[in-house]
Amino acid sequence: MDLPAVIRVALRALARNKMRTALTMLGIIIGVGAVICTVAIGEGASNQVQEQLRNLGDNIVFVAAGSVSQRGVRMGSSATKTLTLADAKAILQQVPMVSRVSPGVGAQVQVIYGNQNWNTRVRGASPEYLEIRRWPVANGGSFSQHEVDAAANVCLIGQTVVENLFGSEDPVSKTVRIQNLPFRVIGVLASRGQSPFGQDEDDTIIMPFTTVQKKIAGIDWINFIMCSAISADAIHPAEQQIAGLLRQRHRLRADEDDDFIIRSPTDLANVQAQAGRIMTLLLASIASVSLLVGGIGIMNIMLVSVTERTREIGVRMAVGATEQDVQMQFLSEAMVLSLLGGSAGVLLGIAASVGVSSMLQWPTSVPPQAIVIAVLFSAGVGIFFGYYPARKAARLDPIEALRYE
């Protein structure tokens, strides 16, 4: 029997008992629908994390000054003075995986404007810093390389600082005082809200690193280097190349620990995304239990069908159907049943995820490969649960089957 004929025969047989066919398919429809819907919710959440990851910056590799150990006493991070502007320049020049670099200096300061004051973190950086972090300026402008060279008293302030010092006033071109020095506000940073790790990103002031070095912190080294790798895949190799370069530049012996720390926020966020994926997988596997139950429903109905059609099987065998023909007939019936159910389930799942999306405001997204897998899986369910009834049909003795009442 050729395939179109097999499918035609199967469809005909299923059409004879429409109610029964529909109810049996319902099991598979609900199973596949539940799996698709769960995966869609998980995928939506994962896309959201990816979006946050993108906001985090442009494939950031973060190099911080590390701890040093002096006579067995280990200091905390940022305690070394070994990280320098020259290191930052060397990374940009000698690590091809890195496209942009900003040296960075940090300090905790008290900011005063009029009769308001606020304690916040000041970051000294180069003009590339905002690009690396993908952090636009909402109002006003940024500083230039020229202002870095001049160690100019200019600053960009975050939204939290604006709220606490200026209220509803426009801060651009106003002057704030830090450690008794006047700084002109040249721009307001766009709000970024919480970082994926719970810090208020908007509670900050950014100014040229030279200004922080000379006028606020009084140091000639730097605290961190913010780098941008050329792609997400380049992050890890860039980390290794940077580590190698810095060890060499800092003349560290093989038995000495690094005097710097390299981190990638992308890695950390990936851990979060991973946790989300595991959750989705867990939910999807619970949902697929209902698919299993649907499969058992198919098996049940196929067994009933084989018993009911014993005489038909006898006739088919008498006129020349082989065991394989009969087996194929019932197996294809089970498969058509589960495939139709699977396809309807995909539609149900898409509809349900659209519903969840609009009612609960959750982002959902149905990945195309999930649809393919769901349909293939339901075909697999059909084969698995259809096999035993089909085998039972094929094993019937034609004489007994013809005599069956």
Binding site: A5, E312, M317, A318, V319, G320, A321, E323, I399, L402
Partner: protein
């Protein structure tokens, strides 16, 4: 006396031209093992049937005639003995090969018609062709032709429930003929039919036997029906009791003329 004649037949069939037996069974035994008891359904049957013969097989229930028909129909294999169908020793064939033989060489007609319900006459008739890879168009063409031969032209799309018993049996005969078999096995084909319809069915068999040299084996209880055959084999206790030609053979076409005509459509409704 006939058994002696049979025993004088050659043991192994060598294909010869002319009167090569289409069926040659030698010392056929069939024993059913029901655990504690063994039932000897056939106790050594030897029989030759020539092409074009119309053989009525008679006997009480339990005489072994059904078992014999199952073996001849390649639905079952003998415990002992040999069965040559057109010179091929099919008693040693595997299940798959037997299915092929049934498909190509044997047509079955049953007492209960055994048509697929909710399936049109044409689709019922084309069923054997599905299992030998004939294209859909060819199947429908041949099925329509077979239905015409049994006098059902115009009812191709009727379902069994819309046909009378006689018409259903004609559909079954058309199904048996569709693959141009060498042999048709009819197991009490008139058992569920009234006498006039029975004669009509026998007329079809007689016509096919004569026009196509079709070999027909017919199991029946009714001596009236056996009269339409040209040879009667009587079974008893798993053995051939009597095997003789029909002397006063009845021509179904002639008998029909003597019976009062019944309107087909009226019969259909009853």
């Amino acid at each position: 006396m006939p058994e002696e004649v049979l025993e004088s037949q050659p043991e192994i069939v060598t294909p010869r031209d002319g009167a090569t037996p289409i069926i040659q069974v030698e010392n056929l035994h069939k024993t059913y093992d029901l655990g504690e008891v063994q039932v000897h359904a056939l106790r050594g049957i030897s029989l030759d049937i020539l092409p074009g013969e119309f053989v009525a097989i008679m006997g009480a229930s339990g005489s072994g005639k059904s078992t014999f028909m199952n073996l001849v129909g390649c639905l079952d294999r003998p415990t002992r003995g040999r069965y040559f169908l057109e010179g091929q020793d099919v008693s040693t064939f595997a299940k798959r090969e037997l299915a092929r033989i049934r498909n190509r060489k044997i047509g079955f007609v049953f007492q209960g018609f055994n048509l697929l319900p909710r399936t049109s006459a044409v689709e019922n008739v084309e069923l054997p062709l599905i299992y030998c890879g004939v294209s859909h168009e060819e199947r429908v063409k041949r099925a329509r032709e077979a239905l015409r031969i049994v006098g059902l032209a115009g009812r191709e799309d009727h379902h069994p429930s819309q046909l009378s018993g006689g018409q259903q049996q004609r559909v079954a005969i058309a199904r048996a003929l569709i693959n141009n078999p060498s042999l048709v096995l009819a197991d009490e084909p008139t058992g569920n039919l009234d006498s006039r319809t029975s004669v009509e069915i026998m007329e079809i068999f007689q016509r096919l036997s004569k026009e196509r040299t079709l070999t027909i084996l017919l199991v029946t209880h009714e001596p009236d029906i056996a009269r339409f055959a040209n040879r009667v084999v009587l079974f008893r206790d798993g053995k051939v009791r009597r095997d003789e030609p029909v002397e006063d053979r009845a021509e179904a076409a002639e008998v029909l003329k003597t019976l009062p005509a019944i309107d087909e459509d009226e019969e259909e409704e009853s």
